[in-house]
Symmetry: C2
Subunit: 565 residues, 2 copies
């Protein structure tokens, strides 16, 4: 797995390179960010040929260890203008690792107008025209590719949004059953892939070839310890398997931090209709799957399959962020509607958070009424067909707000905040303004902590700790639900890392490693002409959020020193 596949889209050629010695211990986010920082001009046009799209499985991806096979995509983001890493579940992380690649670096752009698909092979890659797939949704695209390359292929595909190089476009990874519904969603990395005119990346079946740990005996001990802890913690053993991420909605609503009506309210009794509990009830009644794994071998199985009353699948999976941004935030308190939104977003190949943010802002501007399900579908059609309005929404909430003249736009670094209003969930607010990634909870979500989320005190230290831990998860390929295990047993994580890589890092060394990753990312952003830390939008520091009437009040003097730059 110590090889890099370097792809020149201008020449439609790929070559295998040895992993540079200084990248020896890097994987996932550490490697995507390092290659972007080392090779991409921070001030380049993110949709021009000088940007590079880097894909990297986590260091443990492809091993049989539960919940560790995520794939990172990295580039300069057209949405935030800064460096971005976005990781996704599904089957591609494990496959890329098993094909023997630590990273795929996609450079340049084809000179003609044609579109391509890239077939990744154990010793290179080949290219085939993809013009016949243009305009297709991700599901039909995936169906045709499975027909050609076999059901066991793992795919990364773009939908119509990625083809149109929209900022809301993600890269869609296929799950265990082949749904292209596991997105590297945030930051418009689908647009970067679109700028390379790659409709799909196909990773054909190569048999089951898990990477071999350097220290197999330590690996056995550490992986046992990991699984034991995963099966002991209530979140990963009971809550996520039963309710998935959807149960987070009750919690955030209770804390008064759920986005309602474009982040105008933090709590609403109508959310009972879209709670995790209610979702499970509906799924069980209709014969869907309340628990389901997105990648092979996951012990948590937080995913689900949501069906209609006849038992036909609508969407997999229903997630808290989608229920928040495309549900509560738009005043749609109806799971069937949200499930159809989810399906549509997966087929368009878009980030449900950014899309929900943009539609919320469009509602604020009066384009369609709050809660107007048919209106939302009309907007999806505008996006799909690329009308001016569709393209505008496709730029995300920030640009939509600027153009439509809306001041209440919930973005940081031009990116829609996740479904935790930072006025009520202050640790996440600190994450939004200090992560190099923009308004993105996946960089460091404090919600699982038993703390007073309203109190600004101590939130900088808490966000810092969680951001560092999350970075390690993103390096190893772990899903974020493994953070509880990392927090409880950091030595286990160091053991897994060392066993796999033949290294000798202490838990403290690993946190220093994570800090180095983040600092490099921040330096890239500064070189791109961005500030080293951000602010929440002015109105979030002034407009009280009911029911707690909270504003964001973590002092800038405090959070601006978070990385000791």
């Amino acid at each position: 797995m110590d090889r890099i596949l370097r792809v020149d889209m201008a020449a439609l050629a790929a070559r295998v390179e040895p992993l540079p010695q200084e990248y020896r211990l890097l994987g996932g986010r550490a490697l995507t960010s390092r290659i972007v920082a080392d090779e991409v001009d921070p001030r380049c046009d993110p949709l021009g040929p000088k940007n590079k799209l880097v894909l990297a499985p986590g260091l443990l991806s492809g091993t049989p260890l539960s919940s560790s096979s995520r794939i990172s995509a990295g580039a300069k983001s057209p949405l935030t203008g800064g460096i971005k890493e976005s990781n996704g579940g599904g089957q591609t992380g494990a496959r890329l690792a098993q094909l023997g690649y630590r990273a795929v670096v996609i450079e340049g752009a084809p000179s003609g107008n044609g579109w391509w698909l890239m077939v990744v092979e154990p010793n290179g890659a080949r290219f085939e025209p993809a013009d016949d797939l243009l305009g297709l949704g991700t599901f039909e695209t995936a169906r045709r590719l499975f027909d050609r390359f076999g059901k066991k292929a793992a795919l990364m595909v773009l939908g119509p949004a990625g083809e149109q190089m929209m900022n809301i476009a993600g890269i869609c990874n296929t799950d265990v059953e082949g749904r292209p519904s596991r997105l590297c969603a945030r930051g418009g990395l689908g647009a970067v892939m679109g700028s390379k005119r790659l409709k799909a990346i196909v990773m054909p079946d190569c048999g089951w070839k898990p990477p071999v740990p350097v220290d197999e005996s330590l690996w056995k001990i550490a992986s046992k310890a990991y699984i034991k802890e995963l099966r002991t913690q209530p979140a990963t053993s009971v809550r996520y398997p039963q309710f998935g991420t959807a149960a987070t909605l009750e919690l955030v609503n209770k804390l008064g931090g759920l986005p309602i009506r474009n982040f105008r309210y933090g709590q609403d009794p109508r959310t009972d209709a879209i709670s995790g509990f209610r979702m499970r009830e509906i799924i069980l009644k209709r014969g869907g799957r309340p628990t389901h794994s997105c990648m092979t071998g996951c012990a948590i199985q937080c995913s689900n399959v949501y069906t209609d009353e006849e038992g036909n699948e609508i969407a997999s999976s229903m997630e808290f962020e989608t229920n928040g941004l495309l549900g509560a935030n738009l005043e749609v308190f109806d799971f069937d509607a949200i499930a159809r939104f989810t399906r549509e977003c997966n087929d368009l190949g878009v980030d449900t958070i950014e899309t929900g943010g943009a539609i919320g802002v469009a509602m604020e501007a009066g384009l369609i009424p709050w809660g107007d399900v048919d209106g939302i579908f009309r907007l999806f059609r505008e996006i799909r067909s690329g009308t001016v309005l569709g393209k505008l929404l496709g730029q995300g909430a920030g640009t939509t707000g600027k153009v439509l003249g809306v001041r209440r736009v919930p973005v940081v670094k031009n990116q829609t905040l996740s479904a935790y209003d930072p006025r009520a969930i202050k640790g996440n607010g600190v994450t939004y303004v200090t992560t190099p990634m923009g308004g993105d909870h996946t960089a460091g979500n404090t919600i699982a902590l038993q703390i007073d989320h309203l109190d600004p005190a101590g939130k900088v230290a808490i966000s810092r700790q969680i951001q560092l831990q999350t970075t390690l998860l993103d390096v190893l390929g772990f899903c974020s639900f493994a953070r509880g295990v990392l927090n409880a047993t950091p030595q286990t994580f160091a053991d897994l890392f060392n066993a796999r890589m033949g290294s000798n890092l202490t838990p403290d060394d690993m946190m220093a490693y994570a800090l180095d990753v983040i600092r490099r990312e921040v330096r890239f952003n500064v070189a791109a002409g961005q500030p080293a830390y951000e602010r929440l939008p002015e109105w979030m520091r002034e407009e009280p959020l009911p029911p707690h009437n909270a504003v964001f009040d973590v002092p800038e003097e405090e959070y601006s020193r978070i990385w000791d730059l």
Copy 2:
């Protein structure tokens, strides 16, 4: 004139304050930028209540000296995100000075939804509802206000674009005959005025009360020397009086730097139809006015009145930048069409450069064909009525390009470049990337110099010199055509300054003063989270511009040190 009028729009109240001692020698751009830098949070929302709109006549405005009564408007720009000063001709600069104000500082925003007009009086200001004027073009707005406040009032008004807080919106100053056609055009300052819900600022007649110079005998000597030089130099004595700015088109076309078809070509024989020579011919034949002054007492009279074949006025004035950006750049080689565009832009209250840039990008995206005059009028109607497409264009070329997926967008700091392609006119390219003002030739236009504009050598020093001189003009209230006089006789300028202010500055002191102004502006931008210097768009450094097949090649290492920060 040593007083500041401070306006609180939240309270609809104004009070007169003494000029702080440290602002004693500041006027025009120096004062708007100083107040913005001292009082406005660089990271505030430019369209929120924390931004301030500062108006300041030049230090010589209101004196009888020719071409010295311009008015500066300053704020944090919603277009560039940085500090902005934009100055305009017409009658308001002299009036504000004669009303006794060095500056007007407009803060806050009204709490309700009403719109207002502010009547500036010698000892304060009063406010009247302006809701009856909403939606009106600037001409009808001005007509109604002259009816109410007398023909001799001087006005600053917004059109529909400013009301909609569009980035293309300027602030329209009335000229000698009352046309609202003298814009503080660039940088979206009309949007900032709109965010204060001020439809118009009325400065009623106060008699002719020119500011009295401190040293009247020196003033007499220096003003004589100034006028003599103005009447000697060929540009100000022959070329501008005869052809106005329109004659610049032949020169720039000859140099291969005129924007044709969204900056795709630098030269086109069809531009013969829109040359300054041709314009004068048409105007003379139809009985318009080939020469005309925008402000009382101007000896240059570069303005003009363009009529139709029946002798009815279409627009005043036809300017090079408009002929470039809304003519050549859109492949409209027809003066009658451009005159009607000019009229429409003045009535909408928009910057013709930014509007031309946005329409050029929309044409590049295929929205309407090149040269489609009817299509352009259709787009103007979209802007006026605020459709989604109209609002998009109203954000300027940068956002239009992002949303429509166009890579060839001619902006720096999100602002459309003036009608000098920086690949052929390299000194202006240096100005675009180094001025804190964005892609704006008014910060330092090198075109009048007899140099090899294609050669990158020496252009940093040249742009620096011109930017410093231009800053001084912007401080004193001079029109940029006085730069030739300043360059030839810097002592005369120092004498005028010293006579007026009672100071004792040498020409070198004045250049140091200008450098201080620019450095403060750059520091504001850096504090706003911007880089200290910009880059041209990637494609302008790579795509050769016919006929010289030039790219922009002034080294970044060289121009990044221009202000020795």
